[in-house]
């Protein structure tokens, strides 16, 4: 099982929509996917219509062996399962801090179910916290949505700088998210990011209203707009990621 974390230091960059749509694309290309919602807001959980409930809360989820498997629910896509989030995950850092090896804890929780899935997609909350460090310890790669602003490169640099000081580091795969192609500045920024940032993926996800509709439809966009440019972009993005991970 490959563990891919959808992660960014910044909030509001499209992490959850990326996680849900990549889960759908991964499943459509033959993978068995576990989506783990690590964000107490539980937006990924909401998008797939699963009840936001963690049995026994964050503390039990983190400390009890086998608790991850007990929290798994199927989504409407038979190849995608989810570990839902609830508000108790706001205490995730505290729960991890109470374990012996907090930065290796998420990897240890995923290990017993590694044979059941091909891909685990972790939908992470923003910031660099103890939970983030545990995510870095579990992930084979960080998929980093990067919005086209002048400070974007600095954000990616901060992340790679942090990782280089805390080896072993997962692969970092940033990509352009929420791109408005009508704006020349955004197009220029993305071109620079692709040229300057190592591992930057060639596919950009558009800033499209169809993505916003996920909140109303409560499903990945491929389910209600299968031929939209955004769906095709997520398909290409997954192909980019798969080529890097399974090459």
């Amino acid at each position: 099982m490959k563990v891919l974390a959808i992660y960014s230091i910044k909030g509001g960059v499209g992490k959850t929509t990326t996680a849900v749509n990549l889960a759908q694309q991964a499943a459509a290309s033959g993978s068995r996917v576990l989506l783990w919602d690590l964000d107490p807001q539980g937006a990924a959980t909401f998008f797939v219509r699963v009840k936001p409930s963690v049995k026994g809360g964050a503390d039990r989820l983190i400390r009890k062996a086998g608790s991850l498997a007990a929290n798994i629910h199927a989504t409407d896509d038979p190849a995608v399962h989810i570990v839902p989030a609830d508000f108790s995950l706001r205490h995730l850092d505290l729960a991890l801090d109470n374990t012996k090896h907090p930065t290796r804890r998420l990897a240890a929780l995923l290990e017993p179910i590694a044979d059941r899935y091909d891909v685990a997609l972790l939908d992470c909350a923003p910031g660099i916290t103890l939970t983030s460090e545990s995510v870095f310890g579990a992930a084979d790669a960080l998929i980093v949505p990067t919005i086209p602003t002048t400070l974007s490169k600095r954000t990616v640099d901060q992340l790679t700088g942090f990782l280089s000081e805390h080896p072993p580091a997962p692969m970092v795969l940033p990509f352009a998210s929420m791109l408005d192609r009508r704006k020349r500045l955004q197009r220029d920024i993305v071109a620079h990011l692709m040229a300057d940032v190592a591992g930057f993926l060639p596919t950009a996800i558009p800033n499209a209203s169809v993505i916003e509709q996920m909140g109303i439809q409560r499903s990945p966009i491929a389910d209600f707009a299968p031929n939209s440019p955004a769906t095709l972009a997520y398909r290409r993005l997954w192909a980019d990621i798969a080529a890097r991970i399974w090459s």
């Binding site: 033959g30 219509r49 629910h73 399962h81 091909d118 399974w246």
Partner: protein, 479 residues
Amino acid sequence: MTTTLVDTFDGRLHRAGLRLELRTSEGTELVLSGQDVVPAHLSVDAVPRVLTDLPPGPFRSRVASLIDVRALLPQVRVRMERSAGVWRDGTGKTVAIAELYENVHIINRPDIDRSTTIEIHEVPGYAERTRRARTVLRGVGLEQCGLDTLAQCAAAADVDLAGFKAAATVPLEPDMAALDGIRAVLANLEVAIAANWQGAIDQTDTKFLHDLRIALRRTRTVIAASESVVPAEVLGPAREGFAWLAGATGAARDLDVYLLEWKRYTDPLGVQAAVALEPVRDVLARHHADAHLGLGHVLGSERAAALIAEWRGWLAEPVSNESLPRRAGHPLGKVAAKRIARAHDALIDQGRLIGPDTPADDVHDIRKDAKKLRYLIECFSSILPDKPRKKYVKQLKALQRNLGEHQDAEVHITLLRSLTPELDAAGANANTMVAIGQLTQRLEQTRVVARAEFAERFADYDSPATRRSFDALIEAIAT
């Protein structure tokens, strides 16, 4: 829609608790599922037959780890009308799925009638809803059956989803008559020969020829160990006929192995050398095609058909008690123990004569001796005690591995050298000739290392510990 259940000839996916379905309706989709296994779906443009027909990724990796070189073959094809209904909760989330299968027809089996079925699929995390759905259906008088629609169709069509798996031996008793025991072993091997025959001709996958070759070699080994047990008038033609058949499989199998191992041989030489060696691969592929054509002619010949028909006839006929060879009625255990001991002693005697300068052909003879011994143990394993057998075979296998590495390298070096004039005449460029030199050198290194290790491997085998395991193995049936 049409659903085809796909598996290897030896049912590898089924044995691993998996099921691979090819579903065709508007598009074509592969579904890999199993009990308590998250199903994986993959859209495909064409029906996959071998691994490389699948796109790279996790789906192919999972299948690859199980099927290896085997081809995916249709086991049962079913045409049916499928309607699905879902039970949703207040948020619209699916919590249970019901599928109705009507007008179910097994393709090419119009004689089989199938009834309408409803399958209830549990949605992980919502088990209670599935239980309730089942209770409702039972309440309206529906009968619960243990198998799903596709499994019912396979059972109705007498398709054994476990596939064909050749066992070397059959149930035997040490005190049964030697002739009866040997005939039972040979009849079992004949089933393996027949099962793999057509697949080897058609080149369905390389395992067919491999398994055919093993069954032929085992047959030859048991025949050779059957003197004074099997009547000479049966033994003589069988010995000659099976030697001819087995010999005809050699070139095709050697080239199968060469092409299967090609990447492992050439990858360490680097990309440039691998590209330069492409003309060699092309020549090998041509020789491979010729060798298989020749094999096809032999297996399809009247001589082969007559040999197998006569052999099958003798195995099926009751044995007349008149003028049987003198050991035909001896206890099988005693006879098998003597023949296995003789093979073991031959291996030890020959192995002790091998020195650093012994010609490669003599080392190859040792390999053949070790194989014969292994085949005898496998063929009579049902009367041999498990524990000492496994211990002894482990030691024998270590020696065989070393001999196998040596022989494969030797064969492939010889073949490569034999191709050089052909490549030269075809105008192969300097890069190709240099790369051939690199590949030969690499194979030569493997051969030299294996040869250097032989003394150590043989000393491990020719040890008091091995002798003790062997004695324990033989004593159990010899008395």
